[in-house]
């Protein structure tokens, strides 16, 4: 019995934490950069919704839309396409961009 209650409390805590994370999660997409709520199309279960949705969002934003997730990249300055006239590894307006995979998408991150 005690274990059950403990487990329930634990689940409740996880659910609370998950909801906070879902609310907190946000991505920056497109040009000009637009904040996007992450919980988009969630996976089927709470278990996956809570943690996967933010992550899935980053990956699913493909094609021409820029992706820079504060969560994944640690800075909002990552871009999906290099600014005009910039090249990988070369200084560009005082910034050197390096390519990274973010999910299944290439993004460019200031070095």
């Amino acid at each position: 019995m005690r274990r059950t209650i403990g487990r329930r409390l634990c689940l409740a805590f996880v659910a609370l934490a998950a909801s906070l994370i879902t609310v907190e999660a946000a991505a920056i997409i497109g040009r000009p950069l637009t904040p996007v709520s992450f919980a988009g199309a969630a996976r089927r279960s709470v278990r996956r919704t809570a943690y996967a949705a933010p992550i899935v969002g980053a990956a699913a934003v493909g094609t021409a839309a820029a992706v820079g997730t504060a969560a994944a990249v640690g800075t909002a300055a990552a871009v999906a396409t290099l600014p005009h006239g910039c090249y990988v590894g070369a200084p560009c307006g005082g910034v050197v961009y390096e390519p990274r995979y973010s999910g299944a998408t290439v993004v460019y991150v200031p070095r």
Binding site: I21, A25, A26, A27, I29, T34, P35, V36, S37, F38, A39, G40, A41, A42, R43, R44, S45, V46, R47, R48, T49, Y51, A52, P54, I55, V56, G57, A58, A59, A60, V61, G62, T63, A64, A65, T69, A71, A72, V73, G74, E98, P99, R100, Y101, S102, G103, A104, T105, V106, V107, V109
Partner: protein, 250 residues
């Protein structure tokens, strides 16, 4: 006398029964069709399928956006997967060979790779948790889709036969706590999923994820080299950004 007692019992029990059925309405027929699909998929040694996905995101100021992705997915059980992302803008191949997960962009020449868990289910979860991306229709690729899909389901209905991309399918609808979902399963001896829709209920804009699965090739012969990645000459290895540990932890 006995009848009276039964009637009384019925009167007492019926409100409780009504509440219970309002909460949980599982049509055993719908559940069985899902189980048949799950067993059929689990029994395939290999398969290939093309997926067209629409993933809706909502901006923080309420604009709903759709992101499209097409893939050709090849699976060999128990632990190999290849995902060719189709289209000019994302000419990318993701491979999993039972040991390593890799991604290679043909257009850019950039690749990244990482050690991965030894099972397909583990690798799908790993890709999601560690690097933040999903195998297309990943819920349906795992070894026992039924178990994961039915988790948290309170209602299941069979809405009859509809045609998806020319294939007659059973349209099944399920409800969970945070998401509702629908699946269209081929009628006949090959109970394959042809369409899968997830509706998110805990957001006001109710964004949806939709994937259509076409050109199924069950038990297709697959060359062993399909899943192994050797960087082509000139390819450049780049870093794969891990999902922030706070969010990946589970």
């Amino acid at each position: 006398m006995k009848t009276t007692w039964l009637l009384l019992l019925g009167l007492v029990a019926s409100p409780a029964f009504a509440v219970e059925t309002a909460r949980t309405q599982i049509d055993p027929g719908a559940e069985e069709k899902l189980r048949q699909m799950s067993n059929y998929l689990a029994g395939l040694k290999t398969f290939r399928v093309e997926s067209k996905a629409v993933d809706e995101k909502v901006t923080t100021d309420g604009q709903k956006l759709q992101f499209l992705s097409d893939s050709k997915v090849t699976v060999q059980r128990p632990n190999k997967l290849r995902d060719d992302r189709l289209g000019a803008a994302t000419d990318t191949v993701i491979r999993y060979d039972g040991k390593e997960l890799s991604i290679y962009g043909k257009r850019t020449g950039f690749y990244a790779s990482s050690p991965a868990p030894g099972t397909l289910d583990g690798a799908i979860d790993f890709a999601r948790a560690r690097y933040g991306f999903d195998a297309p229709g990943g819920d349906l690729l795992v070894s026992r889709p039924y178990d994961d899909l039915m988790e948290d389901v309170r209602s299941a209905r069979d809405l009859g036969i509809e045609t998806v991309d020319g294939v007659p399918c059973h349209h099944l609808a399920f409800r969970g706590t945070n998401v509702d979902w629908q699946i269209w399963i081929e009628d006949g001896p090959r109970p394959l999923p042809h369409r899968y829709v997830i509706s998110t209920k805990d957001q006001a804009a109710r964004p949806e994820f939709t994937v259509n699965l076409t050109r199924w090739e069950p038990n297709v012969p697959v060359d062993a080299s399909t899943f192994n990645f050797t960087p082509p000459p000139g390819a450049q290895r780049i870093k794969w950004i891990p999902v922030h540990p706070d969010r990946a932890a589970r």
